[in-house]
C-alpha cells in the first residue's frame, strides 16, 4: 500500500514579466488502488500540477511538498521520479524522431526495472498490450509519437502506462480527442492496469463521459490553482450540469 501526498504545493512559471503564480496551495492525497478525478476550468492549473509532480523544468515549486511513501519527490530528478513509480500520461505527448516505439518502450522498461526484460516474455507483453489498445503492430517500428494522430498519441500513452506499471499514474486529459470507440478502448486499458497492478490514478478531465468507464472514488474541483471542493462521483455529475460558476464566483 503506497500513498502520494501533495501538501500546500505552490508553483510558478517564468514569464517575461517575472514569475507567475499558477498553483496556490494544492492539498491532495491518493492511496494505491484509488482513482481520483480532477475537474476544473481551462487554465486553472491542472496540467501544471501534473507536470510539477513529474518534474518538468518549466515549473518552479516555491512551497510545499510531494511525498511518495514519505519520500520527497521534489528532490528527485525527472527520471528518478519515474523510476520511483510515478507516471504522467501527457496532454500533449512529444514527438521523438528516429526513436522507434519498440526501442523506446524497451529502454524505458529496462530503466525502470533496473534490468532488461526477458526478451520473449517482453515481446508477448507488448503485443498483448498493443492488441488490447487496438494499436497496429506497425506502430512498433514508427518513431515515438511522430505523425501519430491525437487519439493514437493518447493510446500510446496508456500503452506505456500498462507496460511500465507505475505506482501512481496521472492522466492529463487522456480522454480529449478520442472518438467514442477509442474512449472505451483506452478506458479499458486504464482499468486493466488498475485491476492488475493496484495503481493509484489521478485522472484530469473535462468530461464525465470517461468517468462512466473509469469510476472515480473521489472527485476534486480545481479552481485558480488549488482544490476548491471535494466529493464523490456525484460531484462530477453536478459539475457537468451546472458548470464552474459557483466556484468561480467564490474564488
Amino acid at each position: 500500500m503506497s500513498n502520494l501526498t501533495i501538501s500546500d504545493l505552490h508553483v510558478t512559471v517564468e514569464t517575461p514579466e517575472g514569475p507567475k503564480q499558477i498553483l496556490r496551495g494544492v492539498d491532495l492525497t491518493i492511496n494505491s488502488g484509488e482513482t481520483h478525478a480532477i475537474m476544473g476550468p481551462n487554465g486553472s492549473g491542472k496540467s501544471t500540477l501534473a507536470y510539477s509532480i513529474a518534474g518538468h523544468p518549466k515549473y518552479q515549486v516555491t512551497q510545499g511538498s510531494v511525498l511518495l511513501d514519505g519520500e520527497e519527490v521534489l528532490e528527485m530528478s525527472v527520471d528518478e521520479r519515474a523510476r520511483a513509480g510515478l507516471f504522467l500520461a501527457m496532454q500533449y505527448p512529444v514527438e521523438v524522431p528516429g526513436v522507434s516505439v519498440s526501442n523506446f518502450l524497451r529502454t524505458a522498461r529496462t530503466a525502470i526495472d533496473g534490468k532488461a526484460p526477458a526478451l520473449r516474455q517482453w515481446v508477448g507483453e507488448v503485443r498483448e498490450a498493443m492488441d488490447d489498445l487496438r494499436i497496429d503492430p506497425a506502430f512498433a517500428e514508427r518513431s515515438v509519437n511522430e505523425g501519430f494522430s491525437g487519439g493514437e498519441k493518447k493510446r500510446h500513452e496508456i500503452l506505456q502506462m500498462q507496460l511500465l506499471k507505475p505506482r501512481f499514474a496521472i492522466l492529463d486529459e487522456t480522454d480529449s480527442g478520442l472518438d467514442v470507440d477509442a474512449l472505451r478502448i483506452v478506458s479499458e486499458g486504464v482499468n486493466k492496469a488498475r485491476s492488475t497492478t493496484d495503481v493509484g490514478v489521478l485522472l484530469i478531465t473535462h468530461y464525465t463521459r470517461i468517468l462512466q468507464y473509469i469510476k472515480p472514488d473521489h472527485v476534486h474541483v480545481f479552481v485558480d490553482g488549488k482544490v476548491a471542493e471535494q466529493g464523490g462521483p456525484e460531484l462530477a455529475e453536478q459539475l457537468e450540469a451546472e458548470g464552474y460558476d459557483r466556484f468561480l464566483a467564490k474564488a
Binding site: 530528478s77 504522467l88 501527457m90 521523438v96 524522431p97 528516429g98 524505458a108 506505456q160
Partner: protein, 416 residues
C-alpha cells in the same frame, strides 16, 4: 584542356554541350566574382590556377573557411601527384583503373575547376582514378575504395572519374583514412537511365585537410544518390555540383557530419536544374560539439527558365550540443521559371530539445541515455536513406564514438 570524349560509354552529345557552356562561361566571366547576389551558375571556371586570384577570405565563397588552415593550398604550397594510396575492394562488372592524365577521359563531365585550389589540383594531377560501370551492368554489392593518406608534409592532388553507362546500376563508396592535405577533383557521369549511389566518407585522422570539388552529370531519367559523410579531419571543404543531361533525372544529395572541437566541416552544394522534369532532394544533417567546432552548409539550387516541371527540396539540420560550437547554414533557391512542381528549402539549427528529453526521462530513462537516444534518432533516418550497409555500420560506430566524447564533456560540465 585535356578532354577526350570519343570513347565514352555514355551519351556524349549533351556532355560536350555542357563542356562548351563551361568554357563559354569562363570566357564571359573572367575575373573574380565577388558579389554575393551573383548566381552560383555563373562561377568563373578555368583550368589555369593563375586565372584565379588568391582569395582574401572576404569573398562570398570563402568567407566561412579558415584560409590559413588550408596549408597554402590556395597559394603556392607544392602539390604532389602521389601520397594517397588506394585500396580497392572490387566487384565484378566494375572496372577500376589508375591511368595517366593524358590517357584518361578527365573533363568528361564538362567540369572545369571553379577555384584556385581545384585548378591547382587539376594542374598537379598526374594520374586519374577511373571507376567505370559499363552500360547495362547491374551490381548490387558496393565497390569500396579506401584512400589512405601517407601523412607526408607535402600536399597531394587527386582526380576521380566515375562513369556509369546507360541503364547501369551500382554503388561506389570511397573511404578517406590516414592523414593528408588533399586537394581533389571528382567527376561523376551518369548515362541515361543509370543509377548510382556514390559515397564520399571522410574518416580522416584529426589533422587532415581535404578540399574536394565534385561535379556530377545526371543523364536522362538517371538517378544519382550522392552522399557525403564527414567525421574526421581538421578542415574538410567539399563543393558538390549536380547538373542534368536530359529531362527526368533525379539527384538526391545526402550528408551527415559531426564536428568536434576545432574541426571545420564545410559542404557547399549546387543543384543546377537545367533540364525539365528533373528532381533534387537535398538533406544534410550535422551535429557539433566542443570549442571551435564549426560546420558550414551552403545549399544552392538554381531552376533555369527551361527547367519546367521540376521538383526540388533542400533541408539542412544541425544539432549544436555544446557551447562554443557554431553551425552556419545558408539555403539559397533561385527560380527562373514559374512552371515548377515544387520547390522548397529549410534550415534549422538547434540544441537538444528539452521537451524530448523530458518526455524520455519522464519514462525513467536517465538523462545521459535520453540524450543518446535523441542523438541516434537524429541521424537514424540518414542511415536508412543512404542504404549502403558498409557505410551505415561505420556511421553507427562513429556516432557511438562521438557520443562517448559527448558524454565525457557532459560529465565534465556536471563535475565542474
Amino acid at each position: 584542356m585535356t578532354t577526350d570524349t570519343t570513347d565514352s560509354p555514355v551519351e556524349t552529345t549533351g556532355l560536350s554541350t555542357d563542356h562548351s557552356r563551361a568554357s563559354a562561361d569562363a570566357a564571359h566571366s573572367h575575373g573574380v566574382r565577388t558579389s554575393p547576389g551573383t548566381s552560383y551558375a555563373d562561377r568563373f571556371a578555368s583550368t589555369d590556377p593563375e586565372a584565379f586570384e588568391v582569395p582574401t577570405g572576404r569573398e562570398e565563397e570563402w568567407r566561412f573557411t579558415p584560409l590559413r588552415r588550408l596549408r597554402g593550398l590556395l597559394q603556392d604550397a607544392p602539390l604532389r601527384g602521389e601520397g594517397v594510396t588506394a585500396d580497392v575492394r572490387g566487384v565484378d562488372g566494375v572496372t577500376v583503373q589508375i591511368v595517366p592524365v593524358a590517357e584518361s577521359r578527365r573533363g568528361l563531365s564538362g567540369y572545369v575547376p571553379i577555384d584556385r585550389v581545384s585548378a591547382r589540383a587539376w594542374a598537379a594531377t598526374e594520374k586519374v582514378m577511373t571507376i567505370d560501370v559499363p552500360a547495362g551492368t547491374e551490381v548490387a554489392e558496393p565497390l569500396v575504395v579506401t584512400l589512405t593518406g601517407d601523412g607526408g608534409s607535402e600536399a597531394v592532388a587527386g582526380h576521380l572519374l566515375v562513369t556509369v553507362g546507360a541503364n547501369a546500376r551500382a554503388s561506389v563508396v570511397v573511404f578517406f583514412e590516414g592523414s593528408a592535405t588533399y586537394a581533389e577533383n571528382v567527376e561523376i557521369v551518369l548515362g541515361d537511365g543509370a543509377a548510382l549511389t556514390f559515397v564520399s566518407y571522410q574518416d580522416w585522422q584529426p589533422d587532415a585537410v581535404h578540399h574536394s570539388n565534385a561535379h556530377a552529370v545526371v543523364g536522362r531519367d538517371a538517378e544519382l544518390k550522392h552522399v557525403s559523410v564527414s567525421f574526421g579531419g581538421d578542415l574538410v571543404r567539399h563543393d558538390t555540383t549536380a547538373v542534368y543531361d536530359g529531362p527526368g533525372g533525379s539527384a538526391e544529395l545526402l550528408g551527415l557530419y559531426f564536428a568536434d572541437a576545432g574541426q571545420h566541416i564545410e559542404h557547399r552544394l549546387f543543384v543546377d536544374h537545367n533540364e525539365p522534369k528533373t528532381r533534387s532532394d537535398v538533406l544534410y544533417k550535422g551535429a557539433l560539439q566542443g570549442d571551435g567546432a564549426h560546420s558550414v552548409w551552403i545549399g544552392n539550387v538554381l531552376i533555369r527558365p527551361e527547367a519546367e516541371g521540376i521538383d526540388t527540396y533542400e533541408l539542412n539540420r544541425n544539432l549544436v550540443l555544446t557551447d562554443g560550437a557554431r553551425a552556419d547554414s545558408v539555403p539559397n533557391l533561385e527560380i527562373e521559371t514559374g512552371e515548377i512542381e515544387g520547390a522548397g528549402h529549410a534550415s534549422a539549427t538547434g540544441r537538444f530539445d528539452d521537451e524530448q528529453l523530458f518526455y524520455l526521462r519522464a519514462r525513467g530513462i536517465p538523462e545521459e541515455a535520453a540524450r543518446r537516444l535523441v542523438l541516434r534518432g537524429f541521424f537514424a533516418e540518414m542511415i536508412g536513406r543512404i542504404g549502403v550497409d558498409v557505410v551505415g555500420e561505420r556511421m553507427l560506430a562513429a556516432i557511438e564514438a562521438e557520443l562517448e566524447i559527448a558524454m565525457q564533456t557532459a560529465g565534465a560540465e556536471v563535475d565542474a
